[in-house]
């Protein structure tokens, strides 16, 4: 720790109080606007009513209130960079003085929205992995100059004794990235990010609000108006009610694909992952640039995930589970769309294996399927009993049940685990397939969980406690026979 000597030794010595950049008044406005949906909706309502006076009044009131509150926030927020910690004093009525020791910082995120980029500013976030799964902001400096932000980042790195000299020079002369995505790769990723949720939402909206908005792609009139000048299409739609339904569905699907493409492009444009001396550095974004560092020491587990379509093209997404969250959205994505070799390269730089070199994949018990069928039996009996009364609906129940069993069987085919190279590998799921790679020394706790039902089938679930992550990243091996589970646990603890 020879850098520590250069820094003020007195731990009480904090730097001079500093305020955020005055342009926070501008950059913070977007956030205030996002928080004022109700106000916007009311404004739109009054505008539609033609009450422009009220709209104007509301706009003035909104600007005054939000600028006033931003100004107050700016005035009352002071931060000091100390030798060992960052201290943020904020709030007016409720005043909070927060101390974040640099030793506890897991990653430093720099984020630049369009406005930030225009004025050379940045938003700095220090993640420590504390405070209930990242719901609350930890150490956020909303708007400071980019130079100060970078200096702060270097300072944090230096404090952590993580080869600061190498990092500092790396920012000027960069080697080849560990992983990067060209625009073609980003667009491919966008196609797979096909958003079913958007389609469902639009479908619901067009069905409930379609008449009021004059937008219902499932009504013939919509297409008649749209294609008023193109005869043949109109004739087709006039002739076939089904035509409108098909055209409507195609439109929604296109919208779903478009949304996925746009969202992915905005987020992943220019994706670049570098291996720095101490960890990873990830930069991405089209309008909002983010620059995140993930210390290698803090990585707890790796997750390779894929979906049913992506898998047939052999694409994977690689995520690293660290103590902190990726901007409150779960694990850190270090490769949104990669071949297995590329993901393997990234993991190799951590000296982690991607697949068990020694040791073989083992299947889980068949009771994974049979116990599931057992649950469905009462429902099946009920369905058969009511089929004579309900007719087709009862049949639908039975078909749905069979489909669920089929999916469960596919799940079982895809579920396996292996132990080798000092790590546990678990693959689960057919529709949402994922492989967890957990080094044995990162496992904090092991639970054997069984219910009265699973006990009847002689199976239990092995649940692995790994630090960090969230509800999204639950690592478990399902449906192990009790002796197998106990043997595996003994091996993991050895």
């Amino acid at each position: 720790m020879n850098e520590a000597a250069a820094l003020p030794a007195d731990h009480d010595l904090l730097g001079p109080p500093e305020r955020l950049h005055p342009l926070y008044l501008l950059t913070g406005l977007g956030q205030a606007l996002r928080g004022a949906w109700g106000m916007l909706a009311a404004g739109a309502y009054f505008a539609a009513q033609g009450s422009w006076l009220i709209v104007g009044f509301m706009a003035v009131l909104f600007v005054l209130l939000s600028v006033g509150s931003l100004y107050l926030k700016w005035l009352k927020l002071e931060y000091r960079v100390g030798a060992h910690e960052l201290r943020i004093d904020s709030g007016w009525l409720n005043r909070t003085s927060r101390v974040i020791p640099f030793d506890r910082v897991t990653d430093v995120d720099l984020e630049q929205g369009p406005l930030h980029r225009l004025f050379g500013l940045a938003r700095v976030k220090l993640e420590t992995g504390g405070s209930a799964g990242g719901k609350e902001e930890e150490g956020v400096l909303h708007t400071i100059s980019l130079a100060k932000a970078e200096a702060l980042r270097e300072h944090v790195r230096a404090r952590k004794g993580l080869a600061p000299a190498a990092v500092a020079s790396a920012t000027e002369t960069e080697g080849a990235p560990l992983f990067s995505m060209g625009s073609k790769r980003v667009l491919t990723a966008g196609l797979f990010n096909f958003s079913l949720a958007v389609i469902a939402g639009l479908f619901g909206l067009s069905q409930t609000m379609g008449d009021a908005l004059g937008f219902d792609p499932f009504e013939r009139q919509f297409w008649i108006d749209l294609f008023a000048r193109s005869g043949p299409v109109r004739d087709l739609i006039m002739a076939h009610r089904i035509g409108a339904a098909v055209a409507g569905s195609i439109l929604l699907v296109l919208l779903g694909i478009g949304t996925g493409l746009a969202r992915t492009l905005l987020r992943e444009h220019g994706f670049r992952l570098d291996r720095t001396g101490s960890g990873f550095r990830r930069r991405r974004g089209l309008l909002t640039l983010t620059d995140v560092t993930i210390p290698a020491k803090r990585v707890q587990a790796a997750i390779l995930a894929t979906g049913p379509i992506r898998r047939s093209f052999r694409w994977w997404e690689l995520k690293l589970q660290s103590l902190a969250q990726d901007g409150g959205k779960g694990d850190h994505v270090v490769a949104p769309l990669a071949r297995e070799e590329e993901a393997g390269n990234i993991l190799d730089s951590l000296r982690w294996p991607i697949a068990p070199g020694s040791g073989t994949w083992l299947p889980v018990s068949r009771a994974f399927v049979t116990s599931f069928i057992g649950i469905l039996i009462p429902a099946a009996i009920a369905a058969i009993a009511v089929t004579p009364f309900l007719g087709p609906v009862g049949l639908l129940w039975i078909v749905g049940g069979l489909a669920a069993i089929g999916a469960r069987w596919f799940d079982w085919k895809r579920t396996r685990y292996a132990l080798g190279d000092g790590a546990l590998f678990v693959e689960t799921g057919w529709w949402r397939h994922r492989r967890s790679i957990i080094p044995m020394r990162k496992i904090q706790s092991i639970d054997l969980a069984e219910s009265w039902w699973s006990r009847m089938f002689g199976i239990c679930t092995l649940r692995l406690g790994v630090a960090g992550g969230s509800g999204f990243s639950d690592h478990h091996v399902p449906a192990l026979s009790r002796p197998d589970a106990e043997a595996l646990r003994a091996e993991l603890l050895a």
Binding site: E85, G91, G130, A467
Partner: protein, 161 residues
């Protein structure tokens, strides 16, 4: 009922905390009581329920302002043992929390309007993880809170080096 005081190895918090709690309870119950009086006079005056709502709210409010803060204060204690922060609170829902300093990720000292009025502050320590990761200790004097914060800070530093 004589309140069994907190274990002897624990320190009580500032007596001012009682008043802060009273003020906070009053700021909640007094407006509610006034509102119930208005509702009673306007909507319930001619019904057989007249007077019941303000009476109930007034009773609960009075106990909340006069009785509860003292009990909360009496049953709140803490101990600092070089490496641990221990907080004990509550009677019906009794909790006894021990936080090792080295597990603390970051530390807040917060003061609301009532805290400022009665010279108290709340120490909030955040630990890693998702369950029970925020431990707060209210009713400290600001100087004491800063002192504890300093102790935790130096412990974290010693751990890192």
């Amino acid at each position: 009922m004589t309140a069994t005081a907190i274990p002897t190895d624990l320190q009580p918090v500032e007596p001012g905390y009682r008043d802060a709690l009273r003020a906070r309870a009053a700021s909640f119950w007094v407006p509610l009581f006034v509102a119930s009086l208005i509702v009673n006079a306007t909507a319930l005056a001619d019904t057989p329920f007249s007077g019941i709502v303000p009476a109930v709210i007034g009773l609960i409010g009075l106990s909340g302002i006069l009785v509860a803060p003292d009990r909360i204060y009496r049953r709140l204690g803490y101990a600092i043992d070089g490496r641990f922060l221990r907080t004990v609170r509550g009677w019906l829902f009794h909790t006894d929390t021990v936080v090792p300093f080295v597990r603390v990720q970051h530390i807040d000292v917060t003061r609301g309007p009532f805290d400022k009025m009665f010279g108290t502050a709340t120490l909030v320590v955040h630990t890693a993880g998702t369950h029970n990761s925020i431990v707060s200790l209210p009713g400290l004097s600001p100087e004491r809170a800063a002192e504890i914060r300093e102790a935790i800070r130096s412990e974290i530093r010693a751990d890192a080096e």
